[in-house]
């Protein structure tokens, strides 16, 4: 209980992977970076040494196919104003997958990280207070769970040997405070976020997550830009906003966990589309192009563009006052804190959220002993490379990556590797 909270890890890195590196030979491959050279268990020895990141973000020898990191994405306006990748402006052959240009074992280098949000943990906590190791928020006498994110205070962090930390499930009936309103998490299989609005706050949400509401809560629409783009991307056209006084509850349609992310002023997170459950009214919402795509050619003239992590990412920031975002994750949630330049490969559809400072790019991997044949996809694995600094969270139940295995015409900045 609250009388004996776990000791939070020191420093602004509550999730601890740099402080708990994977033992040699264990964990996920670490391809190295200037700040975090390759570890045992990473690429096989004998490859070129890891070098610094050149301006532009990609080392010499990486494929010069498709747009390069640092280069503005070649989008053009298509019908209805939809941004469409413009491959005519891309360097590279623009044809089938180019021949291998990188010797096995070559390490890529990370592009420079995006604008870094200020670290979430700031001032030292006053004596007797509790600093949540998950959200870094400080509270007094939190009881059984952190009032800012609902994380239980009486459980120890579960960290695997590779540095991923399992997010502790919010306990049944735990309460999260935002402003004068509260949110109670109910259930453990498909949890419900039951928000008690006090009249001064509001929350916004996608309409299909609404479970029930009291009569005292009024629901209206929240205008957003880019209606056509959202419609074509399969994202709801409108966001609904609830205000007033009373209870309103939300849930998603899959077994999983609710993740509460307090957003401090000046910081923000990006979440995969459709993961959002609610956000408090103080949280600014925007959506941004994910910038992760590839195009395939089926037959002679059937081109298709794929967005393996969705066409857009939801972006939540807190410009003036602290905000709160609740996400629904399918399955369990695991969080990792990447150091500057540190990288990890994840399945694109497994991404749940990331800090704004974490940048991403595609990575194609070809397993050894395979060859390209007609409509064969088993020879190509698609990864999303996340480059620190910042948090990356994945969900354990995710849909398979959409890759039909057809010839690649091009992609967003990507690297590839033949084993």
């Amino acid at each position: 209980m609250a009388s004996n909270p776990p000791t939070p890890p020191p420093g602004p890195n509550p999730f601890g992977s740099p402080a708990n590196p994977a033992p040699p030979g264990q964990g996920s491959p670490n391809f190295g970076s200037p700040a975090n050279p390759a570890q045992p268990g990473g690429p096989p020895p004998g490859g070129p040494p890891v070098g610094p990141v050149p301006p532009g973000g990609q080392p010499a020898g990486t494929p010069g196919w498709g747009p390069q990191p640092g280069m503005p994405l070649p989008f053009r306006r298509g019908p209805l104003g939809i941004p469409i990748p413009d491959f005519s402006q891309m360097p590279g052959p623009g044809g089938p997958f180019p021949p291998q240009q990188v010797p096995p074992g070559t390490s890529f280098a990370a592009p420079p990280p995006a604008a870094t949000a200020p670290p979430s943990a700031a001032a030292p906590a006053p004596p007797g207070s509790y600093t949540c190791p998950w959200c870094s928020m400080v509270s007094q006498n939190p009881g059984a769970s952190c009032p800012s994110c609902g994380a239980p205070v009486d459980v120890r962090a579960i960290q695997d040997t590779s540095g991923w930390t399992q997010l502790p499930a919010v306990k049944d009936m735990a309460r999260i405070q935002f402003g004068q309103s509260t949110c109670q998490i109910e259930g453990a299989v498909v949890p419900v976020a039951d928000v008690a609005l006090d009249g001064g706050e509001s929350v916004y949400f996608m309409h299909h997550t609404l479970l029930y509401r009291d009569d005292g809560v009024t629901v209206g629409t929240m205008r957003m830009r880019g209606g056509f783009s959202r419609m074509l991307a399969g994202i709801p056209l409108v966001m609904l906003q609830a205000s007033g006084k009373g209870h309103i509850a939300f849930s998603h349609d899959a077994a999983g966990e609710i993740v509460a992310l307090p957003i401090q002023v000046g910081s923000g997170v990006e979440a995969r589309e459709h993961a959002m459950l609610i956000a408090s009214g103080a949280t600014a919402y925007d959506f941004t192009m994910s910038g992760i795509w590839f195009m395939t050619m089926k037959g002679r003239d059937e081109q298709e563009t794929h967005f393996p992590m969705g066409q857009f990412l939801d972006r939540f920031t807190a410009p003036q006052a602290p905000g709160l975002v609740l996400l629904h994750a399918k399955g369990n949630v695991f969080v990792r804190h990447l150091g500057p330049g540190e990288t990890i490969l994840i399945k694109p559809t497994a991404l749940l959220y990331k800090d704004l400072s974490v940048s991403t790019q595609l990575h194609f991997e070809h397993p050894g002993g395979t060859w390209k044949s007609w409509r064969s996809w088993g020879n190509r694995y698609l990864w999303l490379r996340c480059i620190g600094p910042g948090r990356v969270a994945v969900e354990s139940a995710f849909v398979p990556v959409e890759d039909p295995g057809f010839d690649l015409l091009g992609s967003s900045p990507a690297t590839r590797r033949q084993w």
């Binding site: 299989v189 419900v192 479970l211 009291d214 629901v219 077994a255």
Partner: protein
């Protein structure tokens, strides 16, 4: 729980179990945990522990598993159960199955409901499960009770429960309430019975007072006392140049019990 003499009363079904029992012998609810009631008044259905056993008539039911729980029934020759055939998981070879005669086969066919309801009689074992993560809701029914459940939500009923179906009143409610045209209705006449539902996700129950109402997402409705009235309300959501869309909610008005599930198919917002 409440101790009544040397007995313990279950707060979920109000059945009485011997003192010292860990779970209710009538519904399987844990007796050694407190009720989980939210600030808004919803009570979480008891999470049945793995391998919990409870009794109905002279037969027994054991709940196995926690993610997609299985109801394993040990039938005596005096008892039987009825169910939709696609929820059968396994059975002893000796358990005879037959069909229950139902009126309105054409209507049921149009409504997407099973044409037949299957029955099984003892002696022997037969097990049932559904196809999604969720929990079993065990509802012992006292004589004279009427309970409505959304179609395809019931896992099994004991042979003492009368099964029928009712047409949902009002075209608008039938079209937009996410229920289809019919609801299953379970009635106990002279004898008590047992009804087991499968709720997707977590299940919550609320007791609505007379005239008290709440607005529900249509897909969340799981069961209700027949005294609870349902009607659809539509809110127009304007989206500027895109015209508009309608959000349909179901208003449930008491008195009576109302059960909801937290995972649902979003049926009816365009």
């Amino acid at each position: 729980m409440e101790a009544v003499g040397q007995r313990i009363e279950c707060q979920w079904c109000h059945g009485q179990s011997p003192a010292g029992a860990q779970t209710c012998t009538t519904c399987g609810a844990p007796l050694d945990v407190r009720n989980l009631v939210s600030d808004s008044g919803w009570r979480e259905a008891p999470r049945l522990r793995d391998m919990t056993e409870f009794h109905f008539g002279t037969s027994a039911c054991q709940v196995e598993g926690e993610l997609v729980p299985v109801a394993e029934i040990t039938l005596t020759p005096e008892d039987g159960v009825f169910f939709e055939h696609h929820v059968m998981l396994w059975k002893d070879e000796t358990v005879p199955v037959s069909v229950m005669a139902l009126p309105g086969m054409v209507k049921r066919s149009f409504a997407g409901m099973p044409h037949i309801i299957t029955t099984a009689r003892g002696p022997g074992r037969i097990a049932f499960s559904r196809d999604q993560t969720g929990e079993l809701v065990v509802l012992p029914l006292q004589p004279g009770m009427e309970l409505d459940a959304r179609e395809h939500a019931f896992l099994l009923g004991s042979h003492t429960v009368q099964y029928s179906y009712v047409r949902i009143q009002g075209l608008r409610t039938a079209l937009f309430a996410g229920q289809g045209m019919f609801m299953d209705r379970f009635v106990t006449a002279g004898q008590p019975g047992l009804l087991i539902l499968h709720g997707y996700g977590n299940v919550f129950e609320r007791q609505l007072a007379a005239g008290q109402s709440i607005l529900l997402e249509p897909g969340a409705y799981l069961y209700k006392d027949s005294s609870v009235q349902m009607a659809v309300e539509t809110q127009k959501l304007s989206t500027g140049m895109f015209g508009g869309t309608g959000m349909h909610m179901v208003r449930m008005t008491g008195p009576g019990r109302l059960g909801i599930q937290s995972m649902y198919v979003h049926h009816n917002t365009e």
